[in-house]
């Protein structure tokens, strides 16, 4: 976050987040760019020059944003909640308690009444609101708010906000990764400025964005993508500088095998010749193959062949076992990997495969739980619904396989070696 004044104003071309409680949306700011909110297409260029953090409310009459002043979520000046334990003894929910008809509400909306005002109007006209128990009142207001308020705060993208964008509507696209699972992945993988990170990302580029945010363009990222082309809208929503983006090597999973030492890469254009080596009687040695690749894929593959990586993070719809086993040798020693999966069974499989390797330590399978609270005077309680699962995490640390390189002197004096094959 720079402290320059100009940087705190929204620039033409900026990627921003329109944040509402429990619901956020990304957008590009600029001429010709727009944002769709409940079927209304709103031009985004009018927010250029506003400071980040500005609150706006969609005026459904004009189809434009109005600037509004900050109002605390629970400041419904005209709504008497009273203390927890309000009396509902006179309430009968007949389904007809709402004083304003749907038509009347629509009229209010069309006449340009602002969200909060509208809610207060509805509440004032509800014949039962005063009788409702606190709990019922909250739910009532929340329902009304959800329906009628289109108030947003315009923010710079962060990982936290990117998770918000995906968490409600598009969570299946990111395999149910949740803000807490992503946070833990970034801790366990020890990604930091300067890290060389191997990212297998089948989750819209969210992991790629996370690796980039935490390396700040100072590291190297090899991005293995599940399709022929990288599809990374979650990465794009950050609007990272081009110089940072240049630190990424993209490699399609379809070409992943070329990084194996048994495959020779041919620049595209030369003739591809598959040679199937005759299998001998001894331990099966995979045959040397040749694969043609375009220049970018060749560069990515060669980078992997020539470097060892500092961290591996992975989340995709592919079964993780074979990919992880194949990629582990590309990590340096004493480095960490973290694999996310929406289901536990594939990670149980993978766990069992790792246990036998001898080259992985601290193999852990974890589940996480995330619970939000409403904290309001006399009305504090956990939120009434919660995310069922943020997926499961399998993590571990690479170590040298095979015999010990160092022996305590007291025992035997063995020449220092430490140079077994990786």
């Amino acid at each position: 976050m720079t402290s320059e004044a100009s940087a705190s104003l929204i620039q033409d071309g900026a990627r921003v987040i329109f944040q509402r409680k429990d619901w956020s949306k990304e957008a590009t700011v600029g001429a010709g760019k727009s944002l769709v909110i409940s079927k209304l297409k709103i031009k985004t260029d009018e927010v250029i020059g506003l400071p980040y953090g500005t609150l706006v409310e969609l005026n459904k009459q004009t189809g434009k944003f109005d600037r509004v002043e900050a109002v605390e979520e629970d400041d419904f000046a005209d709504i008497e909640f009273g203390e927890a334990g309000g009396d509902n003894r006179n309430l009968v929910d007949t389904g007809t308690a709402q004083g304003l008809s749907t038509g009347e509400i629509a009229e209010l909306k069309i006449s340009g009444v602002k969200g909060m005002e509208l809610i207060n109007n509805i509440v004032q006209n509800s014949s039962t609101f005063g009788d409702r128990q606190e709990y019922g009142k909250e739910k009532y207001v929340a329902k009304k708010k959800e329906k009628h308020i289109y108030r947003f705060r315009i923010l710079r993208p962060t990982l936290r906000l990117a998770c918000d964008v995906y968490s409600s509507m598009k969570v299946n696209k990111i395999n149910h990764i949740r803000v807490d699972t992503l946070a833990i992945m970034l801790s366990l993988s020890n990604i930091q400025a300067g890290s060389k990170v191997l990212v297998v990302d089948g989750v819209q580029g969210l992991l790629l964005a996370a690796a980039m945010e935490r390396t700040g363009g100072t590291g190297k990222i090899v991005h293995v993508h599940p399709g022929p082309q990288p599809i990374i809208p979650a990465y794009d929503l950050f609007g990272f500088p081009d110089s940072w983006t240049d630190t990424i090597h993209h490699l399609s999973i379809d070409n992943l095998e070329v990084v194996s030492s048994h495959v020779e890469i041919l620049p595209k254009g030369e003739e591809s010749m598959e040679t199937d080596g005759a299998s001998s009687d001894g331990p099966v040695e995979p045959p040397l193959k040749k694969r043609k690749l375009n220049a970018l894929q060749t560069a990515s593959a060669n980078y992997m062949k020539e470097n060892t990586m500092d961290a591996l993070i992975m989340a995709s719809r592919h079964h993780p076992k074979s990919i992880l086993l194949f990629l582990l040798p590309f990590l340096s020693l004493s480095k960490n990997f973290v694999v996310h999966c929406a289901y536990r069974e594939p990670l149980v499989d993978t766990f069992q495969a790792l246990r036998g390797l001898g080259s992985v330590l601290r193999i852990c399978l974890n589940d996480t739980a995330l619970r939000y609270y409403q904290v309001l005077p006399s009305r504090t309680h956990p939120e009434n619904s919660m995310s069922g699962s943020g997926g499961f995490l399998l993590s571990g640390t690479t170590v040298e396989k095979g015999a010990a390189a160092v022996v305590e002197k007291e025992q035997e004096s063995v020449p220092e070696d430490g140079k077994e094959e990786e």
């Binding site: 606190e134 379809d254 719809r317 194949f326 006399s378 504090t380 956990p382 009434n384 619904s385 995310s387």
Partner: protein
């Protein structure tokens, strides 16, 4: 039929409350009443004539215009899913814990306030019948009238007494040293605690309270201690439904596996094989909180 009858393959009879299972998310309750004008229930599977069901076994299928529905015996759990909401109601996990933590069994004498929509009342009645009794109190006249009607319709009139009363002010009527357990589902449970103490037997009776907010729990616990209740425990109980599904995942095949590919000497076209597994998926959104349950003993 009563909620309490137990007989082999019982059949639907005049006066019964029947549960009509439409589909996974829809179950309807209906009263078999030949004198009623409205004897047809309209469902998304088509109309169901209630008269038509008489004499058929519970558990039977009924073919309708579009598909079929199934007729089930009433239980407190099905009633909870079908009852006409008059207030925020209690659901299975909390109800189950209340019955368990109040040590209810056949013969228990229980007080409940408020009656609300009667969701908990039915579960208590099932457990304390036939020799026990539930005295349930509500401040609200319409709710009391409705609950009384349902108690009769469900054959529970010997088990449940519904009373119109303000327990904050007037407590549990004439009940004194009489109850084995009292359950409070009130906005201000602390106001009812001195009254509950009076109505409860001494020597190990139980009290329970359900509140959505932690501030209510704090005041309730303070008041319980002040009145000599002991062994306080506060808990939350949640139930998460799991969806059983068969999943398919692509499994990338490393070069050595593909080199030894199945189709002769040719490398398979796709580097993927399929792995299939059964799993139990936790839904995207699950219940996160209903309320806190507090229980205590009175010795």
């Amino acid at each position: 039929m009563s909620f309490l009858t137990s007989s082999n393959h019982p059949t639907v009879a005049e006066g019964d409350t029947v549960m009509i299972y439409i589909d996974y998310s829809t179950i309807l309750a209906a009263q078999i009443d030949l004198s009623a004008k409205q004897s047809v229930i309209h469902t998304k599977k088509g109309p169901v004539s209630l008269k038509n069901l008489i004499g058929h076994r519970y558990g039977t299928k009924l073919t309708c215009k579009s598909g079929y529905v199934q007729i089930l015996q009433p239980t407190p759990e099905l009633w909870t899913k079908t009852l006409p909401f008059r207030t925020q109601i209690l659901y299975l996990p909390d109800i189950s814990m209340i019955v368990m933590h109040l040590d209810l069994k056949p013969g228990s004498l229980v007080g409940e306030s408020g009656t609300g929509s009667g969701s908990l009342s039915h579960a208590i009645a099932r457990t304390v019948a036939p020799s026990g009794h539930l005295y349930t109190f509500d401040y609200h006249d319409v709710r009391v009238q409705q609950a009384r009607k349902e108690v009769v319709q469900h054959g529970l009139e010997d088990i449940i007494t519904v009373q119109l009363a303000d327990v904050y002010e007037n407590g549990y009527g004439t009940l004194e040293n009489h109850l084995d357990a009292v359950m409070l589902d009130l906005p201000m449970p602390w106001l009812a605690i001195p009254h509950a103490k009076k109505a409860l037997k001494k020597g190990g009776s139980r009290v329970g309270s359900f509140s959505p907010c932690i501030e209510q729990v704090q005041r309730t616990c303070e008041e319980l201690k002040k009145h000599g209740f002991s062994d306080l425990v506060t808990l939350e109980c949640l139930m998460r439904p799991l969806e059983v599904k068969v999943m398919n995942m692509n499994s990338w095949q490393p070069p050595e596996v593909r080199a030894a590919g199945v189709d002769g000497d040719r490398r398979p076209k796709t580097p993927f094989s399929q792995i299939s597994f059964s799993t139990a998926i936790i839904p995207k959104e699950v219940p996160g909180h209903s309320g806190f349950l507090t229980f205590a003993s009175l010795f």
